[in-house]
Symmetry: C2
Subunit: 341 residues, 2 copies
DNA sequence: CACTAAATTCAAATCGCTTTGAAAATGGAG
DNA sequence: CTCCATTTTCAAAGCGATTTGAATTTAGTG
């Protein structure tokens, strides 16, 4: 059933029906009732392509994943982020669209996504320290919001981010307070902005206590379980191993734990661990007592905030850029203890 | 730049341009070159809404998540599945669209998604033993493919699935061969079809050896880490605890391991574990030697297959239903050993 | 060179909606 | 009962592509 047919059935013009359904005031309450009832009865709902064409709005938000970050799709953190975002999209009648993109195509894709009227706005994830995508989006004038920031980008953009630097500074300080001096950092990919900030926070804390940063104690890669395991194992087998380890995600922390246990060491005794905890639905940090001492910040919540920011921006393109810095909690769990003497 | 403008710039009719770009034969190679060059130069690409309207094809595949399964979004297994699917979508110029849906709306949504021309087909995930969605989709005549099956549905539909029953039968038999008699099953949600099949395979193996199924050794819930931990801990603290545990996913297996270790037991000695391993990118089952003995089947591959099936179906609606049953490998890892005497 | 067949190109209709500007209906005042 | 101001409804013009059927070119043949 399309608009024309419905209009014939009802004996009411297409104009009036469209108005009735879209809540315009210039239609009497009586006919609105009638139209709505009939729309339900005949199972009518407007064709998306047609209304996109007519209004220029697609009611769709794009999440573009470049090849370089396409593994993001399989990162459980990503799942929770978009779960949060989609709650908001749903409440506002937006759909969520994913595009995978080859790196070279990146600009083209944003370009064409908007030009082709496929999406009304875009969420950018996993920004690099210097991320050309931000420039591109800015230049194109597409409404967009970044999850995270891009330190070396001087474009003016809206973002939501966790205060990664202060979180990792505090975590490091906490370990220093416990007497640890050899503290390792098992970080995310160095190109990614959040990893850089965590590294900075870590360095700041060490330096403020006069502890030198030892490059043998710093690793960076995609935050898988196996990576956490390998990195921890390697470092723990060094001549002077760390007594504490900072991990960038629950998943690699699980790998770190595996390494620690395999070596016959005990968490919170010979080795302490603090991990960042994104509050992943399937990988909760224990129940009452957290498994790991952790810097905690809900990535799902970040998804909700980003989505709302973007919708606001679409509705009101001239509003000033929005910024939201979320502070992570430092929660005490069972994985930390005083440095072994 | 739209078609009309491009046509004016080139002094060629819109028809010819459209044909040139869409690879129709009735246009000379010379003009095709010219058109393609100009399209690139002026950064033209066709408006999606307009072509959807004209062709009736949206070049978009929908993944609908009902509220009941909306946690699927945060399930890491889901991430790998759609990563596989999206590889295929990309290669075929499809986009991927997600809709979250309230349960009551489910039928409406499928209905309207297709009717409104938003998507050309739908992938159904996490089907229940008896899943009305399949009936609905079938009735509506939307091209769709199911990841998994729905035992009690008599509709005729295309699907990709792992042979869960034989996988869990084999795993159970393997444990029986090792002398285990008290074998626990930490399963996924009972309403889900795959969990049911795994349970059946487990029961079959036990019965064929004359071992009774003990309901104290069977649990079912969403496959989180905490669930694996809680379930394992509770069972291991029973008066007559299991000596082996089957886990439905890597994630809950990690929880099981945590429980085992917390109780001072050793994996592969006092307690053996076999888990199903979906080959998740971020949660690989170790490197050379698998952490866990496992029934292994790549969910990413399943995603690729499902996507290809659906595209074939869209291209050729009258083709017979496709079915693909993937056999899981049983890979030997470090988590199993002979039953303690 | 004229004539027909094949290869190219084009003008116009169509997809289904929104929205503008005009027309019709309603109601209140004089 | 008119007349004018409001309400309410409508016909028609887009939106930007694809595609049909006709018109124009080009090529081949006698």
């Amino acid at each position: 059933m399309n608009l024309k047919e419905l209009s014939e059935v009802l004996g009411i013009s297409q104009t009036t029906i469209s108005r009735a359904l879209n809540g315009y005031p210039e239609v009497s309450e009586k006919t609105r009732q009638r139209v709505e009832q009939a729309a339900r009865q005949y199972n009518y709902s407007p064709n998306r392509g047609a209304s996109t064409l007519a209004t220029g709005r697609s009611m769709t938000i794009g999440h573009v994943l470049s090849e370089a970050t396409s593994h993001e799709l399989v990162n459980p953190i990503f799942g929770d982020f978009i779960a949060g975002a989609s709650e908001i999209y749903k409440a506002n009648n937006y759909d969520m669209l994913f595009s995978l993109v080859k790196n070279e195509e990146e600009e083209d894709v944003y370009n064409s996504l908007l030009r082709r009227g496929v999406v009304d706005g875009v969420v950018l994830q996993a920004p690099k320290i210097s991320d050309e995508r931000i420039q591109v989006l800015d230049k194109l004038g597409i409404p967009f919001v970044v999850h995270g920031r891009s330190s070396k980008s001087n474009a003016n953009y809206s973002w939501v981010d966790v205060n990664n630097r202060s979180a990792f500074r505090r975590a490091t300080e906490f370990l220093l307070d416990l007497g640890h001096r050899r503290i390792a950092l098992i970080n995310g990919l160095t190109a990614l902005d959040f990893a850089q900030r965590r590294y900075l926070g870590y360095c700041e804390a060490l330096k403020s206590r006069g502890v030198a940063v030892d490059s043998n104690l710093v690793k960076a890669a995609e935050m898988t379980e196996v990576y956490g395991y390998m990195a921890a194992k390697e470092m723990l087998l060094q001549k002077s191993p760390p007594t504490a380890i900072l991990s960038a995600s629950m998943i690699s922390a699980i790998g770190v734990r595996r390494a620690v246990q395999e070596l016959g060491l005990t968490l919170g005794k010979q080795v302490s661990i603090i991990t960042h905890d994104d509050e992943l639905s399937y990988l909760n940090n224990g129940e009452q007592i957290p498994i790991f001492t952790a810097t905690r910040s809900s990535v799902r919540k970040a998804g909700r905030i980003a989505a709302q920011m973007l919708i606001d921006k679409i509705d009101n393109p001239n509003a000033p850029k929005a910024e939201m810095l979320l502070e992570a909690e430092l929660v005490l769990g069972a994985s930390t203890g005083p440095a072994p003497r």
